[in-house]
Symmetry: D2
Subunit: 347 residues, 4 copies
Amino acid sequence: MIKVGIIGATGYTGNELVRILANHPEAEITAITSRTNAGRKLEEVYGNFTGWNGPVFSGSDSPDAVAGCDVVFLALPHGVALELVPPLLEKGQKVIDLGADFRFRDAATYQTWYKLTHTQGELTKTAAYGLPEIYRKEIRQAMLIGNPGCYPTSVILPVYPLLKEGWVDPDRIIIDSKSGVSGAGRKAEAAYNYPELFGNFKAYGLAGHRHTPEIEQELSHGAGRAVKVSFTPHLLPVARGILSTIHLSLTKSVTTQEVEEILARYYQGEPFIKVLKEPQLPELKWAVGTNCCQIGVRVDKRTNQMIVVSVIDNMVKGASGQAVQNMNLICDLPETMGLQQQWPVYP
Amino acid sequence: MIKVGIIGATGYTGNELVRILANHPEAEITAITSRTNAGRKLEEVYGNFTGWNGPVFSGSDSPDAVAGCDVVFLALPHGVALELVPPLLEKGQKVIDLGADFRFRDAATYQTWYKLTHTQGELTKTAAYGLPEIYRKEIRQAMLIGNPGCYPTSVILPVYPLLKEGWVDPDRIIIDSKSGVSGAGRKAEAAYNYPELFGNFKAYGLAGHRHTPEIEQELSHGAGRAVKVSFTPHLLPVARGILSTIHLSLTKSVTTQEVEEILARYYQGEPFIKVLKEPQLPELKWAVGTNCCQIGVRVDKRTNQMIVVSVIDNMVKGASGQAVQNMNLICDLPETMGLQQQWPVYP
Amino acid sequence: MIKVGIIGATGYTGNELVRILANHPEAEITAITSRTNAGRKLEEVYGNFTGWNGPVFSGSDSPDAVAGCDVVFLALPHGVALELVPPLLEKGQKVIDLGADFRFRDAATYQTWYKLTHTQGELTKTAAYGLPEIYRKEIRQAMLIGNPGCYPTSVILPVYPLLKEGWVDPDRIIIDSKSGVSGAGRKAEAAYNYPELFGNFKAYGLAGHRHTPEIEQELSHGAGRAVKVSFTPHLLPVARGILSTIHLSLTKSVTTQEVEEILARYYQGEPFIKVLKEPQLPELKWAVGTNCCQIGVRVDKRTNQMIVVSVIDNMVKGASGQAVQNMNLICDLPETMGLQQQWPVYP
Amino acid sequence: MIKVGIIGATGYTGNELVRILANHPEAEITAITSRTNAGRKLEEVYGNFTGWNGPVFSGSDSPDAVAGCDVVFLALPHGVALELVPPLLEKGQKVIDLGADFRFRDAATYQTWYKLTHTQGELTKTAAYGLPEIYRKEIRQAMLIGNPGCYPTSVILPVYPLLKEGWVDPDRIIIDSKSGVSGAGRKAEAAYNYPELFGNFKAYGLAGHRHTPEIEQELSHGAGRAVKVSFTPHLLPVARGILSTIHLSLTKSVTTQEVEEILARYYQGEPFIKVLKEPQLPELKWAVGTNCCQIGVRVDKRTNQMIVVSVIDNMVKGASGQAVQNMNLICDLPETMGLQQQWPVYP
């Protein structure tokens, strides 16, 4: 039984780690931390966990709170993990960071986009980018995982193979993403007050969202050259899920079926990637609550464009589910363990 | 042109007053106040008001801010109006208070339920309870209006005539109300964060909601004797609207049609009350955006119960629309002026 | 491995049976039927099942289609099971009927409320009412289960013990229930068109909903005498979940805590019943996606009323999850098998 | 008083015409038609119109049904207006067609995309494209208006001036639009059943939506050369509103402020166009219920892209409101008459 600690368990991704790990047959949550809920039971604070018999909240987000854990998940504001990770690694604990601190190969990129000083420039080079479908080998050997952002997961998975294949123009990638509001975290702000967003929809973070460099880093890796993307996120009036519509320019004449095949072949055997066939296209709710990414494509001969649609659950494949998938890999467990709910609660 | 001031114009009911009065042919908003937005234009703070050319926010919730206004609306937290009203009245300004401070004939009731000291016990006796369909005469003559609460409006309108008629047992009134989230105000609390309430529904304030004594005060007036009610509100995952389901015990054998008729007769000529006929029953959205109250009833011979369903928009007939209706009355304007949108934006 | 057949697998409850059983370690779905989708794969018709490798749809809702199955679930319109069940039982197959045909001890009640002739009056007496928390013993021995209705499940579970205890007046039970729209089934009707219900809410089926006699049958059993209830359902603008607010008159002076205790004691050891303690009250989403029923109560000394709030997922504990729970019982499997997701996908 | 007839008044756009015209000071609805509701009152069929005292439904969608009307609105399935319009024009009635039959200058385009034979090739050349902000002069003189599609309205208004100015590349226009479900009409299809779309989101009509050629026709007009666009619509889980995110490639170095200014100048004095200034960006609900179009832009120097965001209410500016605006123009009334609700019901 693997002992697991979660530092920052009161946020949505922290809660989601508990939900998933509570049913994991080889993991046991032995520590959860929350600076605001010290000593309280999770079910007292969040009634959706009624009946869960795990540990009470430890009040300190410190390495001591997770002493004895084999794996430590960090679900913290950006920047906080920078100081926490070194002492954890020193004790031989494996660390999966759900924030952005260890996602970048180049600490300078992080500094530019996150406006924070990156104090662990060497360490970040040793971290694996936790997207198993692309970096499975690196992940298995890593002690530190930079768990991918939600939007980047939804974009990299479908576009990476197409760039690798050379079928689309790396200079003309337009990403139009739409996310449920849980992506913003457990916010106490009037702008996220229920009536404000009910029946509403909006774009935000234009020309500057911090997931942009993460997408570019990985797509550049796939393309074998520097890639810049135009990334525009939107806020959907739902709790969960990301749907990304990715507009690509074709570099050669291919059909929808050929693209479906190249993607299906690239992801053959992958338990969490589902490439749909025309006439189906992914719908948001087909992924919600699962660790799956569904992908659909359409080639438009008339305009020489390809439109790619992908969906994930931002809290699962886009955060905590992927983190557990990474845990399974670094702990030599079956990759799908604890993530077996392939088919969503629907409708 | 009547000069209008709104003290507390950043909340939902304050905003709603602006929305309604902006199209009122005989009213001109000359002052709006907000302690947090001094000097800013309304449209800068709230993009839904883009193009509105009213005054900028005055930064003080004080009588000075509304000097020169003929009518002053107060959209403030409970308790604040107690001190503000006397100086306004002294200057001859008419006051419509959207809070609870002047809704009770008996200041002691207010003190018990609101846990606040009522410093204006004499003044509150002179205030009219601003439900025009019942107190039109008193309102016309008043300088101070205690504008009714949203839930009470939805309950008193359908039940008052039935108690007056003596058809239902005043000792067995069960009120099960459901409100959109805007009723809670512009909240910056995690409990009102969009994802928390999305797809959710809950009861709250059981056995202690502060609209209970207001309902009881008015139903007692209708019944001609003291009435106690069991009132249970719920939070609907929508922005606007209240639907109240009121469970009554019959004291005599009547049909659904007879009840419809008694209500239709009582409210004959009322522009904002619509009594539906079987098989129709009110739906929440049929009232949203309008100042109307729709009412439907069903008699259940099998159990000797009557079920009454009423809907209003909590922000319009339940707050700011009714306040404007009251303004029309105290200013001798046609009662429906500025409130002519009888049919909602639908679907 | 138990072989399972689902007759009527295109509706919501049929789909939900597949979703749950797909992860059941001891059950294998060997037949699904649909008159409209013969020969098609489930995933082709419903993209949320992408990747599911079960049987294709058989085009006939007949016993032949489920030949060889140990357990047969019927998810059909009311009345259809009456003819299907006898031949299935003759072949020694166990039958769990999710419709109303075998829920009533007295076929006459069914005929009165469902306006259908009940041709299996003797058989219905042998059927167990599939509410395990109350009829576990009978269920274990039955070949035929009448799986409870969704609303009745949400009402009987909290009220049955209170009536048994004699703490509430059986003549004054007011049930105000609210259900997500999936309860109406996969409807192709304009009244269920998305825009009609979006932001909307309404009561329906007043004084005549067909779940009334089912509730009365079971509460009468609990009370040891005939009970009539006033039952008013509403349509919530969400996909899933039922919250029932039940208004009861106290027959003796008890506290909220005493009621919580009596319920907790009655349901001690029950894996799917969760009695909350003040100040918590159940929220709809705390049950969605799980087979749990959460219950909360409040005593109102002032009015001598008790208000009970219960939540379930209408598709799980209110239909397909409870059906699987029943399957586990009649097949001598652990009762919670396949139903282990105790904590919902939240938010 | 202008006499108005609405052929096809049971659909959403027909209903919306009634809602708007019911408050129009110079128009009187004298005829509404519906093949399915002959002889019934509108309020009987649609409870949201309770209290409206207009004519009952005429059961025939024929010219006779609107005899005596000065202006006739057609809210019918595509293709039906082709035969109806000539006899109406012959009687001297002005016609505003909300369908696609008379939106195209070139009937061949219509035939290609709508798969219908266009029998009125000459007549369509005389029709004005009813986008007043661009074709006001033509509209004033026309007897027949092809009222624009909803998506095209949301796209043409912001992009037309930018193409005219030559600031963006006409060969790289990517339109990613999101619409509320009312855009699909009053559907009785399982795919539009409330639970299917609740919490859901999807793209549809990729590489083939019929609003594409309409957008191209008008943008080509603005650019002074043939323009092809890539248009991808999505279905938002809300009732109303369209938000279009338009991705453009800059042809010269400009700033966000310069683009805002060029748009503001182009639409100076337009009552229904609101160009927002950074940092504001339009939100869907800021337009819902109004006839306004809000526009915001951001220039991304890093990628040399411009992102334009526009919002309209698909039922108002995208259909019935614009139709009334056109009616005002062809009847020499103030253009904003009956459309004065500039600020939406919010939140």
